[in-house]
């Protein structure tokens, strides 16, 4: 294992160590006894077995002692669980959206980012939302994991005790790019945090932007057909789209692109499944404009 950097990590690690050490002791005991018997009571060394039917005393011992042991294990992990499920009142709040296949972090002042930046030694409460399928917000270094369930307001919290960069994984299987649904928690000192919070994020452009927003997981730039239609040469093209079950022709212009990003299910290009999560609220206006500009430029 590696060191944990949240305030409750040491206690969880101590419960883990207690359980794993006791398991190791039992395992060594059982294995050693089996190996001893294999040799000492082999057919060669002990041709005549003794038929022992059982022992009430032994059965009692190995029922009662393990019961006590597992109750201690339960209790140790119970205490830390209480800690993890009780959010402190002074926690700062960050809204986390998990969608196929990226994380969006939104701060109380409206700032949105692809990574989670938090001050060290400050309790942080994460409100978890999903517009599409199940995801799970997992930061191994903090020992926290919570499923992001559509239609349910889950939350989790942590307080990081050391500065540094830590991995964020999606731990609940969510489709094609599940293993690429990664991000970073950057724990910085409070001065650096407030500077970062009050600086407007730089808007990327071109293919870098499409990659950062997860577009290219489903929309290729080279004409090949993935989960969704390719972006290559899409601007200005006539597409057959399905609106309320009716097929109709639609030219791909700026308005259509904007609508497809914010309400993807409404005018679906024929032949593609309704799989894209709405990006409403997940992109800033500048980002939305920049994405449309980028797609416009992707001519054949």
């Amino acid at each position: 294992m590696f060191s944990g950097v949240s305030t409750f990590a040491p206690e969880i690690d101590s419960a883990m160590a207690f359980i794993l050490w006791w398991s190791a002791i039992l395992m060594i005991g059982i294995t050693a006894f089996m190996v001893y018997c294999m040799v000492r009571y082999s057919r060669k060394n002990n041709p005549k077995p003794t038929h022992i039917h059982g022992s009430v005393a032994l059965e009692t011992i190995w029922t009662v002692l393990p019961t006590i042991l597992v109750l201690i294990m339960f209790y140790k992990a119970f205490g830390t669980f209480e800690l993890m499920t009780t959010r402190p009142d002074d926690a700062m709040k960050v809204k986390v959206t998990g969608l196929k296949w990226r994380w969006v972090f939104e701060y109380e002042n409206g700032k949105k980012a692809d990574e989670l930046v938090v001050p060290v030694n400050q309790a942080v409460e994460l409100e978890l939302h999903s517009p599409d399928v199940l995801h799970s917000f997992y930061v191994p270094a903090f020992r926290i994991k919570k499923d992001v369930v559509p239609g349910k307001d889950n939350w989790t919290w942590f307080e990081a005790s050391e500065k540094g960069n830590y991995n964020v994984f999606c731990a609940e299987y969510c489709g094609n790019d599940h293993s690429y649904m990664l991000s970073t928690v950057r724990v910085v000192d409070s001065g650096e945090y407030s500077t970062w919070l009050n600086t407007k994020s730089e808007v990327l452009s071109g293919p870098d932007l499409l990659a950062a927003k997860g577009c290219i997981a489903c929309h290729s730039l080279d004409g090949s057909s993935l989960v969704g239609p390719t972006f290559q040469g899409i601007f200005g093209k006539m597409e057959t789209v399905v609106t309320d079950g009716e097929e109709r022709q639609q030219r791909v212009d700026e308005d259509y692109l904007r609508k497809s990003i914010l309400e993807p299910a409404v005018d679906l290009v024929k032949g593609y499944a309704n799989q894209m999560p709405s990006q409403a609220g997940l992109l800033t206006d500048e980002e939305l404009d920049a994405i449309i500009e980028t797609i416009k430029e992707l001519k054949e």
């Binding site: 089996m34 039917h53 393990p66 992990a77 993890m84 293993s179």
Partner: protein, 545 residues
């Protein structure tokens, strides 16, 4: 030969069937003989097992290096690999395996009965199983691609995918009925068909374990049937049950899924414990230690096993109170399980141990299953499970239980009963070498997964960060050694069918009733009337403490 007339000509079930013509394809496909049905299950399952193993090897190969490894495998294909590996292994092999193959073949023999209670229903169960299996295979080639939802079919993701997921769900539904009917048949058989003098506490432990299993099959499997029906109703009739877009609750699906699937773990593992108890007594050449404790712990595992499903859901946001109750109850399953392990190792004390191939598998079972069980403890505990849930630690844990435990017991059982089923001996030397390869390969394959999980490696990842690469590589090397062991074992079994030495009736000096008849047994199992006067593991020469 000159000895003709000395030993009476014995007709085996291979030469005499239940249909008009005793041999030929039809005499097998329409047979209501529990032994032939057992062998048909075995044949089908070995085929599915081979497919699922191949998929597993491909998964390991893809994970050999960080980044895309195999040229033809992208994320979508990889996701189908682990889905099909799970679906086939769980629904077509591990859950029905031991009851359908060995339960069918040996339950009536161990009871001293002629057949199961409902032989025709038994054949029907087999065809339900085959129908489910065909549906599962059809789902692979459905338009829109193979199912990629994971074997758990979690909603809402499974609603978004193509028709393949529906087909796979339908397969699980049909297979469920096969399981329910087999369970029903076994419960009735055990209550009604025991030989004269065989009280419940004179039944072999394999039979006891089948009894506990059969009750779970009957009582828990309908839940998955209802759940899959609700999924279909939601998908086609737009009734909101699980789908949040229709006002449903995806966590409810998980509750129902695990309400079946956790007890299903005990459907898998209890018969394995039973086989192991029988083999242990036989190769220790002494009576089993704590017979009643082992028998009754099966029943208590079956009962408590119903009430622990919530431990799969500690991270979903279920109320902390219910999480605590589920955690506590889960720990209580550990107690009867530990009790069994202690009784098994106590059976080795002052025994006279013969290390034949089945015994090697038995000892490996105890070793690997203990690791599987003990690594379940941090997953039952609340805060440690939060960390380990959905990581490679869980993969390691359940493969130690399902493969290191259940499948090793299955292989052990196959070696143990091979002489009785086929009338031939397998090759002992090849058996031992195959075992060693499997044992080393298995542990090399799965032990690194515990370390990966503790380091935070999430499961169902097509690609991973470079820091996890060395442990992944080690695991993949293990898979090759394991594969070599499996191939050698398959060769040994197939070759011995024709070339093995002729098997005596009781090659291991076993004490349970199946060794009291000929190898292979006649159509109605015994040539004489069976009257039971002693316990299943009592030796004639017995000197008790």
């Amino acid at each position: 030969m000159a000895y003709a007339g000395v030993a009476p000509e014995r007709t085996t079930f291979y030469e005499q069937g239940t249909t008009d013509k005793p041999t030929g394809l039809k005499s097998w496909l329409l047979s209501t003989d529990h032994k032939r049905i057992g062998i048909m299950y075995l044949t089908a399952m070995m085929f599915f097992f081979a497919i699922a193993v191949s998929l597993g090897l491909l998964i390991r190969l893809e994970l050999l290096t960080s980044g895309p490894t195999l040229p033809f495998v992208n994320q979508r294909i990889y996701n189908s690999f682990f889905t099909l590996h799970g679906v086939i292994m769980i629904f077509l092999f591990v859950v029905p395996g031991l009851p359908s193959v060995f339960g069918n073949f040996f339950l009536p023999l161990q009871l001293g009965a002629e057949d199961v209670s409902f032989p025709r229903l038994n054949l029907f169960s087999f065809y339900l199983y085959m129908t489910g299996a065909v549906l599962a295979l059809v789902s692979i080639v459905m338009p829109g691609g193979s199912p990629d939802t994971g074997w758990t079919f979690y909603v809402p993701y499974s609603y978004e995918t193509g028709p393949a997921a529906i087909m796979a769900g339908l397969a699980a539904f049909v297979l469920g009925f096969s399981s329910i009917l087999t369970g029903l048949n076994f419960v009735t058989t055990i209550h009604r068909m025991r030989a004269k003098g065989m009280g419940f506490f004179k039944m072999p432990l394999f039979t006891w374990s089948l009894y506990a299993t059969a009750w779970i099959q009957v009582l828990a499997t309908p839940v998955i049937g209802i759940t899959l029906m609700l999924v279909l109703a939601e998908r086609f009739l737009q009734v909101g049950v699980f789908n949040p877009a229709l006002g449903g609750d995806p966590v409810l699906y998980q509750h129902l899924f695990w309400m079946y699937s956790h007890p299903a773990v005990y459907v898998m593992v209890l018969p394995a414990m039973g086989v192991v108890s029988d083999m242990l007594a036989t190769f220790c050449h002494r009576t089993i230690f704590g017979y009643k404790a082992i028998a009754l712990s099966s029943m208590s595992i079956a009962v408590v096993g119903y009430l622990v499903w919530g431990h799969h859901m500690f991270t979903t946001g279920i109320s902390p109170t219910s999480a605590k109750i589920f955690s506590l109850l889960t720990f209580f399953v550990a107690v009867p399980t530990g009790m069994k392990i202690f009784n098994w190792v106590a059976t080795m004390y002052k025994a006279s141990i013969e290390l034949k191939t089945p015994m090697l598998y038995t000892l490996a079972f105890i070793f690997q299953f203990s690791i599987g069980g003990l690594t379940g403890l941090p997953l039952a505990a609340l805060s440690t499970d939060i960390q380990l849930h959905d990581t490679y630690f869980v993969l390691g844990h359940f493969h130690y239980v399902a493969f290191g435990g259940i499948v090793f017991a299955f292989f052990g059982g196959l070696y143990y009963w091979y002489p009785k089923m086929f009338g031939r001996m397998y090759d002992e030397r090849q058996g031992v070498i195959g075992f060693l390869l499997q044992f080393i390969g298995f542990n090399l394959l799965y032990f690194p997964m515990f370390m990966l999980g503790l380091k935070g490696m999430p499961r169902r990842y097509y690609d991973y960060l470079p820091e996890y690469e060395s442990l992944h590589a080690l695991s993949t090397y293990g898979s090759w050694i394991l594969a070599a062991g499996l191939l050698l074992m398959a060769w040994n079994f197939l070759r011995s069918l024709g070339k093995g030495e002729e098997a005596p009736d009781n090659p291991w000096e076993g004490t349970t009733l199946e060794w009291d008849t000929t190898s292979p047994p006649p159509l109605l199992n015994f040539d004489k009337e069976i009257v039971v006067t002693r316990g299943p593991y009592d030796y004639p020469e017995e000197e008790t403490r």
